[in-house]
C-alpha cells in the first residue's frame, strides 16, 4: 500500500512537471496576437494544478479505505482553498465544487465549526482589499449556508492582502493568494 502511494506520487510529479513545462513553453509566446493573457494562463495553470492535486488526493484515498481516514478528510478540508478571479468575489465553478465537498464534510461532522478567511493578492490598495476579502469569505459562507450549513457554525474573517500564502509578484502567486481558506475552530 505504501509502495502504491509512492508510485502515485511519482506519477503525479511527472504529470505536474509536464504541465509546468508546457505552460513554460507557451509563456515564451506571450504577447503574440490571439494568445491568452498572462492572467488567463495563470488561472488555467492554477486550475490544472488543483485538478492534479485533487486527483492525487483521491488516488491516495482509493489506496486506503473507501472514504479515507478521518485525519485525511480533515486535512483535505483545511488544506484545500477555493480561488477567485482578480478583483472579483463571485464563486467560480471550481470553487463551488470544492464547497460542495466542504458542505458534505460539515454535514457529516456536526461538531465542526469553521472560520472562513478571505484573502487577496498583493495588488491594489490595502483598504479596498480588506473589504474585498470579506466579500470573498462571505460569498463562500453564503454558499455553504445554501447547502444547509447553519450560519452559527460559520465565522467569516478578512485578511485582505495582509497574509499572502505565496510570496512573489507572478501571476501564479497572485492566483494562489486570491483565496478563501478554511480553518476548523
Amino acid at each position: 500500500m505504501k509502495k502504491r502511494m509512492v508510485w502515485t506520487l511519482v506519477l503525479a510529479l511527472i504529470l505536474g512537471l509536464a504541465v509546468g513545462a508546457s505552460t513554460g513553453c507557451s509563456k515564451k509566446e506571450v504577447g503574440a496576437p490571439g494568445e491568452l493573457s498572462a492572467e488567463e494562463q495563470a488561472r488555467l495553470k492554477a486550475e490544472e494544478e488543483r485538478r492534479l492535486r485533487e486527483q492525487r488526493l483521491r488516488e491516495g484515498q482509493a489506496g486506503g479505505a473507501l472514504t479515507g481516514t478521518e485525519a485525511q478528510m480533515r486535512e483535505i478540508f483545511t488544506n484545500q482553498d477555493i480561488h477567485y478571479d482578480y478583483d472579483r468575489y463571485d464563486l467560480r465553478s471550481d470553487a463551488k465544487q470544492i464547497l460542495n465537498d466542504k458542505a458534505g464534510y460539515m454535514q457529516s461532522h456536526p461538531e465542526v465549526n469553521v472560520i472562513v478567511e478571505g484573502h487577496c493578492d498583493e495588488r491594489g490598495s490595502a483598504s479596498y482589499n480588506m473589504a474585498l476579502g470579506e466579500k470573498r469569505a462571505k460569498a463562500a459562507a453564503a454558499y455553504l449556508q445554501a447547502m444547509g450549513i447553519s450560519a452559527a457554525r460559520l465565522e467569516t474573517v478578512t485578511y485582505g492582502k495582509e497574509k499572502p500564502l505565496v510570496r512573489g509578484n507572478t501571476e501564479e502567486a497572485y492566483a494562489a493568494n486570491r483565496r478563501a481558506h478554511f480553518v476548523i475552530k
Partner: protein, 432 residues
C-alpha cells in the same frame, strides 16, 4: 512637551533692533504654478560667537535639508561663495555667485544651552526679510531650525510649510503591522501603536491630537482612536463585519466603512463610536473616505461600477458622482488641504501610480510614472507636497515629492515594509 513650549515662547521674541518682517513687496515664488523655477539661495557656515562650536555644522545641515525638502530652493555650493556672511552683508558679493537669497546665523553655545540668531536676506534688493532669535537647550537645535525654516517659507510663499508636522505610517514586520510616527523629513521614526496584530490605515484628527486607525481585535478589524499624548488607543467601532478606514471630518466626526448591514458602506460616527447616518449606499464595497477641507464633500472608493473607482459625495444634497474614468482600478483617495485636488492611486498597465485630479473629475495628472510607481498618497498640510509609498527598491518605503510630481526624498530607511503615510496637520511636534 513643556520644555518645547518654553522654547517656542522664547523663540517668538524677535530682536527689537530688526525691522519686523514685512510682507514681501515682490512675488518670490508663485506657488500656484507647478513649474516655477527654484530660488538660488546661499547659506554660509553658521558663525560661533563664543563658547563651543560643535553645533554650527549640524544646524546648517538641518536647515539646508528643510529648505531642499520644499523643492523651492537651489542651495548653492559653499565652495563658490566669495564672502563669509560675517559682519555687514555685501549684497553684490552674493549676487555675483547667482544668489538671490542669503541665510546667515550666529550662535552662542555655552554648556547645555544654545542661543541662535538667524537672518534671511534678499540680496537682490539688499534688504533683511526675516530675523529671529531662538534660545534653549542644545537638544532643541532641530526644533529651532525647523521653526526658522517655516519663517523662511512664510516670507517667501506667504504661508508656513511642513516643518512642524509628523507623518504616521504603517510598518510591517514579522507578519504584524503597527502604526509608527516620524518627523516630516523622515527623522525620529518611532513606534506609536503596540497592539501585536494588524494595525493600519492611520488618519489624523484636524487638531493633530488624535490618530484614528483600523486594528484587529479577535480577528475583526475595528476602529480605534489613539491620543498622540499617550495611552494605548481605544476601540470605538467594533460592529460585526469590518470596521475600516476611519477619516476625520473638519467637525471632528469620523467617517468609516462598516459592513454590519451586509453591504460595506461609509457611515458618519461621533468619537464615542455612535454610528450616525450612512453616507453611501453602494451594493458592494464603499471604503476609504476623505473629506474636502470645508467638510462639505467626501471622496471615497466604490465598486458600484464593477471595479474600484473614485466618487465624490456632496454632503448637503447627498448627490454622488464618479470622477475617475478610463482606468480599471482607482483607490486610496486623499483630498488636498488646499481643496483643489484629490490624490489617489491608479493601475496603469499593471503598475500603480500616484495621480491627482480636480474634484470635478477634470485635469487628471499621473505623477510617479517617471520614478517607479507609487501608492497611498497623503498631502502635506500646505498642499505643496505628497508623501507616498513605493516598492521601486524592492520593499515598500515612503517617499515625498512635490504636488507636481518632482521627486524630493526617500523618508524611511527602516527594515520591513513601510507604507500608507498619513501627514499630520501643522503644529504637531509629537512625543519623543
Amino acid at each position: 512637551m513643556k520644555k518645547l513650549l518654553a522654547i517656542f515662547c522664547l523663540a517668538l521674541l524677535t530682536l527689537g533692533l530688526w525691522p519686523p518682517a514685512e510682507a514681501p513687496a515682490r512675488v518670490y515664488i508663485d506657488i500656484t504654478k507647478p513649474s516655477s523655477r527654484k530660488l538660488p539661495l546661499a547659506m554660509p557656515e553658521f558663525r560661533p560667537q563664543g563658547g563651543s562650536q560643535s553645533l554650527g555644522g549640524e544646524g546648517n545641515r538641518i536647515l539646508r535639508g528643510d529648505l531642499e525638502l520644499t523643492g523651492l530652493f537651489d542651495v548653492l555650493d559653499p565652495k563658490t561663495y566669495l564672502g563669509s556672511g560675517a559682519g555687514a552683508i555685501n549684497p553684490r558679493e552674493w549676487r555675483r555667485i547667482g544668489a538671490e537669497l542669503l541665510v546667515t546665523a550666529e550662535y552662542t553655545q555655552i554648556g547645555n544651552t544654545l542661543g541662535i540668531e538667524c537672518k534671511l536676506h534678499d540680496v537682490t534688493d539688499g534688504k533683511l526679510l526675516v530675523g529671529r532669535r531662538y534660545d534653549g537647550l542644545k537638544a532643541d537645535l532641530p526644533a529651532m531650525m525647523h521653526r526658522f525654516a517655516d519663517e523662511i517659507m512664510e516670507a517667501i510663499t506667504g504661508q508656513k510649510s511642513v516643518f512642524s508636522t509628523q507623518i504616521a505610517f504603517v510598518r510591517a514586520e514579522g507578519g504584524k503591522k503597527e502604526v509608527w510616527l516620524m518627523d516630516f523629513d523622515g527623522s525620529h521614526a518611532r513606534q506609536f501603536t503596540n497592539r501585536g496584530d494588524l494595525t493600519l490605515f492611520p488618519s489624523w484628527s484636524p487638531d493633530g491630537k488624535l490618530v484614528a486607525y483600523t486594528t484587529y481585535v479577535n480577528r475583526r478589524p475595528t476602529v480605534a482612536l489613539h491620543a498622540l499624548a499617550g495611552g494605548s488607543g481605544q476601540v470605538i467601532l467594533n460592529k460585526p463585519g469590518v470596521n475600516l478606514t476611519p477619516a476625520f471630518r473638519n467637525d471632528g466626526r469620523v467617517a468609516a466603512a462598516l459592513s454590519f448591514s451586509g453591504k460595506t458602506n461609509i457611515y458618519l460616527c461621533d468619537q464615542a463610536g455612535n454610528v450616525g447616518q450612512n453616507l453611501t449606499d453602494g451594493w458592494g464595497i464603499d471604503v476609504a473616505p476623505t473629506f474636502s477641507p470645508d467638510g462639505r464633500q467626501m471622496a471615497y472608493v466604490s465598486d458600484r461600477s464593477g471595479n474600484p473607482q473614485i466618487y465624490v459625495r456632496d454632503m448637503a444634497s447627498g448627490q454622488m458622482r464618479r470622477i475617475t474614468y478610463g482606468h480599471k482600478y482607482c483607490a486610496a483617495p486623499d483630498w488636498s488641504p488646499k481643496g483643489d485636488r484629490i490624490a489617489f492611486m491608479v493601475d496603469i498597465g499593471g503598475v500603480f501610480q500616484v495621480a491627482t485630479i480636480r474634484p470635478d473629475g477634470s485635469d487628471q495628472q499621473i505623477l510617479t510614472s517617471g520614478h517607479g510607481g507609487g501608492e497611498d498618497p497623503s498631502w502635506s498640510p500646505d498642499g505643496r507636497l505628497i508623501a507616498y509609498s513605493s516598492r521601486s527598491t524592492g520593499r515598500y518605503q515612503i517617499y515625498v515629492m512635490t504636488a507636481s510630481g518632482q521627486p524630493l526624498k526617500r523618508l524611511t530607511e527602516l527594515s520591513g515594509e513601510n507604507s500608507d503615510p498619513a501627514w499630520s496637520p501643522r503644529g504637531v511636534i509629537g512625543t519623543r
